[in-house]
């Protein structure tokens, strides 16, 4: 019998089962996986996984790291798992896959349009006070589809989300920050 050999693809498939504890989607669709390497050794393979955090202060990072380690360690032929979080490239909403965006919307979390991020620096320029992030955005309500939505709070339940409100169906929902 030939022992199963882990490959980059088989490791990526495992990463696709790691769900972000604060988002209802997996870390591959969320765009957290930057690089996967499989290094063969005498007694088995070492899996090296480079992830990028959504926000530096995201408290879910340790849980994600532990979950990745736990799942990948179980893969046949893997003897060691190394997980790193990188600051570069920076995470952005552009990294969320179309399937990930759709899954988030079904869950009630909207994502700024692709191409909309990164936003220009919201600074006070030439005497004009720039609107804070989120003001003026009108994401379609994830529940009823109405465009009659508005920002309620730029700070939401997690670092990556804001609170929006739909004036049509009177529901509040979460909208990702345009980073």
């Amino acid at each position: 019998m030939v022992a199963a050999k882990p490959t980059v693809d088989s490791i990526r498939a495992i990463l696709g089962t790691v769900i972000d504890p604060e988002m209802p989607i997996d870390i591959v669709n969320l765009g957290l996986v930057h690089d996967v390497r499989v290094v063969s050794g005498d007694d088995g393979a070492r899996a090296e996984i480079d992830l990028i955090p959504t926000f530096i202060g995201c408290p879910a990072l340790d849980m994600i790291r532990d979950d990745v380690r736990k799942r990948v360690t179980k893969a046949p032929g893997v003897v060691e798992v190394a997980v790193r979080f990188l600051n570069d490239p920076p995470w952005s909403i552009e990294r969320i896959t179309p399937a990930g965006r759709e899954a988030l919307r079904e869950f009630g979390v909207t994502t700024p349009e692709r191409g909309g991020a990164p936003r220009p620096t919201p600074l006070t320029i030439a005497g004009n006070i720039a609107a804070p992030v989120g003001v003026g955005e009108r994401p379609a309500c994830p529940f009823c589809g109405s465009a009659k939505t508005r920002m309620e709070s730029a700070f939401g339940p997690t670092r990556c989300k804001m609170i929006f409100y739909c004036d049509a169906c009177k529901n509040s929902f979460e909208h990702l920050k345009p980073i």
Binding site: I56, L123, I129, A154, F155, R159
Partner: protein, 259 residues
């Protein structure tokens, strides 16, 4: 550049301590508002700001640990008071006056933006990458305090009076932000901490003036005097000693605790 020159390590550690300590102390002060914000949205806002401040401080302590050895928790909580490099403005006890907390955030946000903008152009790759990431996050929050200053200054006479009082109280502490850390000129000349087009104080004052001018509030700001010695050289306010003792209580009790 990938490697930092040995000659720049000591001054860079001083500069990084000033940034991390500012963020840790401000984050600790802002976290005091969790559960006590005047409205729910601001309760959440200040908690989120605190979370970012402390997480960013942690990342910078991690970078310092890469240069000097040691670990981030010890660097944050295990040092003696005179080795901290935070400034008087962040150390101030706001005594649960929310106007003071907002005005302090306003002054600090703009200063932090400028400091990170400089670091995001550093010729040391590791620092540049971390600072760029932090700058993108800070930029999501920088309008928050601006909006409150304008909104409250244009509101009732009580609200305006409280904001004016806070501005008048805190403006004399703002020179403490600009005191250079030991060896900063070398870092500037070497491109590790590139200067802005304008002097730091001038750039900051014009950003602050953009908002203040909109409101008609009275405020006067000064750059620190040449012989000013404060937090960047370990000379701290009385408020700091009390805060440090409270902030490090758990760590001192059980330095190896995990939570």
């Amino acid at each position: 550049m990938t490697d930092l020159a040995d000659a720049h390590k000591k001054p860079l550690v001083q500069l990084l301590f000033s940034i991390a300590d500012d963020k840790l102390v401000l984050g600790h002060r802002n976290a005091d508002w969790t559960g006590l914000g005047p409205i729910l949205e601001e309760d959440i806002a200040f908690s989120a700001l605190a979370q970012d401040d402390i997480a960013h401080a942690g990342a910078i302590y991690g970078l310092i640990a890469d240069i000097t050895g040691g670990d981030a928790d010890h660097l944050a909580y295990g040092r003696t008071a005179n080795t901290y490099r935070c400034c008087d403005l962040v150390e101030l006890n706001d005594e649960f006056d929310w106007a003071v907390a907002v005005v302090r955030q306003f002054f600090c946000d703009h200063f932090e933006h400028l400091r990170l903008r400089r670091l995001s152009r550093s010729n040391w790759t590791k620092l540049r990458q971390l600072a760029s990431r932090m700058l993108a996050e800070e930029n999501l929050a920088i309008g928050h305090a601006d909006q409150w200053i304008v909104r409250l200054a244009k509101s009732t006479s009580e609200a305006r009076g409280r904001i004016q009082h806070a501005v008048t109280k805190l403006a004399p502490l703002t020179p403490s932000l600009f005191e250079p850390t030991e060896g900063m000129a070398d870092l500037e000349a070497a491109g590790v901490y590139p200067p802005l087009e304008a002097p730091m104080f001038d750039a900051w004052e014009s950003m602050i003036a953009n908002v203040i001018d909109e409101t008609g509030l009275r405020a006067e700001f000064r750059a620190p005097a040449k012989d000013y010695v404060g937090g960047r050289h370990g000379k701290h306010s009385a408020d700091f000693a009390a805060m440090l003792s409270e902030m490090t209580e758990v760590y001192r009790e059980e330095p190896a605790a995990q939570w």
